[in-house]
Symmetry: C2
Subunit: 361 residues, 2 copies
């Protein structure tokens, strides 16, 4: 994928704006380069994104009930972004009309669904007629290669975020760490491995869409590409090693990127894996020391690696004092530098990671 | 995939007949239901498959140098089977002419390559004209689902073969164990998870071709289908948990099938992973006790499981006494029932597995 020009987005998130199903919407608003004009979610019409993401002019974005309302705004959007990541990635039937109306109103369509919208005959015909583009961020790359056991470029440092669950902030942590590396005057690179990261960064691969045989290999050449862009490479992790549905994608990232170090992302307060199936089948979140040890064991099957820091998502603890207490407890429990880099900044964690990784060389 | 009628095969294995690149050819000859008329490998023309697979009328198959020679045989073949599994699964350019000639001679084409031959315009047009079928065993299923954490049917037993490397016999061990279960009067099911297994069994999914997000889920519903067919379910494993290129497929099988027990397949004498890249980057085969422990740890991240037996591939030790000595040593090293079920029969291992699994219930 090539970087794209800046756009004015309306984000479709009908009924789903929030940290789980709407994590694409929230990630693009928080970290994206495009300006977001409105969020289409009739259940929140009249409210503002600031209620969810906090103060700051960046989050001063209205929720609207209809596409027409968004089109009537003074800074008319030029693209509709599908802002949800439902399980399995399929397009809800009821959104087809909205997407068609957007195409016919001259808006590009940006989608990260498994259902590739550009391959839909009705959407494709409408887009041709309207002269707009449909961009499917989950379209797999042409390059299909198994991993070769490639070694990293000398002088580069590959850091992978791993986690105790999905949808808890592995992408955000990687982005914050990259920002901290840039602030420190270093060449930092973010490797997007999911559709939201790609929407934000303009390149990368949604690795969960890749043919399984090429998963490790794709992660390997993504890092190779990143090594040509800079020295400090932060790879966005996916899923979790103990997730019943997504563990293989997680392992493909660990063994494909062969990271110099891993950062464990965890959301205190979460007891069970985010898993919207039979509620009688529940999978607990494992204790951190065990999780750290198994990640190091499993990574070491291909190349030795250590978890060198813990990044907490303390969003379930609005009280700052309580969040800081949990951070201190986690640091004591794991013996590792710990912080919430999204909430409190990533400088401390980055400097600790840097010390650990450079000390190892 | 539906079971297909019995065919008369000529197997294309040009220059590659052997246990690695030609493992599809050898597996289909050893275990398939179709009769094999000839193997097309000009480097071995005039010789017999018996030199490679041993005595027995089943292996009395000539190597031929050209397709025309195969077509001139008294039991003329009615299908050409692509008998190799090269890294990445692509079609060597030089085989196109042979495949086209086979199509034009009225032969069906059976292929397990990543390159889907039926989607090739030239092959497809020729097949239409000749009225023959092109069957791509690696075509992914329409069913695309993430895993749900499904529990097994009560009374069923799911056994997964895992291994210290790829291409060492995980499929053969699963087939031999199924045969032993059937001999014991039990309902045994073989779950094919690779193209060779599918060619042999007529159903299954080449799971390495599935979109990564659906890998665990596909393994889960394959077991669900198998549970409708019988009680003793033997799932063919893929790759190895420490293989730089294929580990994620291995983990998808472990976490997707959530086996009641695992059988570890190992080939004594092999020191490094079978990996045909940069020879300076070598990945050693890990010691068995470590390998057993890490498989149990990793499986247990989703559902507890034990390695209950070791199946050795002693083909590097032609002397039977030496093979039996290695088997005894391995049993002593691991504390587990150990045998070479392909060479010496699977009854012993199956009875030991049965005892372990039923004892656990």
């Amino acid at each position: 994928m090539q970087p794209s020009p800046e756009r004015r987005l309306v984000i479709l998130a009908e009924g789903k704006f929030g940290p789980h199903d709407g994590k694409t919407a929230m990630g693009v608003i928080r970290y994206g380069r495009d300006s977001v004009v409105a969020v289409l979610d009739s259940t929140k019409a009249g409210r503002s994104v600031r209620e969810f993401l906090g103060p700051g002019p960046r989050f001063d974005i209205p929720f609207v009930a209809t596409l027409d309302e968004a089109l009537a705004l003074p800074n008319r959007p030029d693209a509709l972004l599908i802002g949800i990541a439902p399980t399995g990635g399929r397009l809800p039937q009821e959104w087809r009309d909205t997407i068609l109306a957007a195409i016919r109103s001259g808006l590009d369509i940006l989608s990260g669904l498994h259902t590739l919208l550009a391959d839909d005959p009705e959407f494709a015909a409408a887009a041709r007629q309207a002269g707009v583009r449909i961009v499917d961020f989950r379209r797999p790359p042409e390059r299909e290669e198994t991993a070769t056991g490639r070694r990293h470029r000398a002088g580069s440092h590959t850091i992978l975020t791993v986690g105790t669950d999905c949808a808890i902030g592995k992408m955000s942590v990687a982005l914050e760490l990259r920002a901290a590396a840039l602030e420190a005057g270093l060449s930092g690179v973010f490797v997007a491995t999911g559709q939201t990261g790609m929407m934000i960064e303009g390149w990368g691969v949604a690795v969960d869409r890749v043919i399984s045989d090429f998963l490790n290999g794709t992660c390997e050449w993504l890092v190779e590409q990143a090594e040509a862009l800079g020295d400090w490479i932060f790879v966005e992790g996916q899923g979790s090693l103990d997730h019943p549905a997504y563990s293989s994608v997680t392992l493909g990232l660990i063994h494909g990127t062969t990271p110099d170090a891993m950062v464990l992302v965890h959301k205190p307060g979460l007891e069970y894996h985010d898993f919207d199936h039979d509620p009688s089948v529940r999978f607990p979140i494992a204790p951190l020391p065990e999780t750290i040890e198994i990640h190091e064991r499993v990574a070491g099957l291909v190349r030795p690696s250590k978890v060198v820091a813990v990044a907490l998502n303390t969003s379930l603890y609005p009280d700052e004092g309580e969040a800081r207490r949990i951070i201190a407890e986690t640091a004591a429990l794991t013996g590792l530098p710990t912080d919430d880099p999204v909430r409190f900044g990533a400088r401390y964690l980055f400097e600790e990671i840097r010390r650990a990784v450079e000390g190892r060389v």
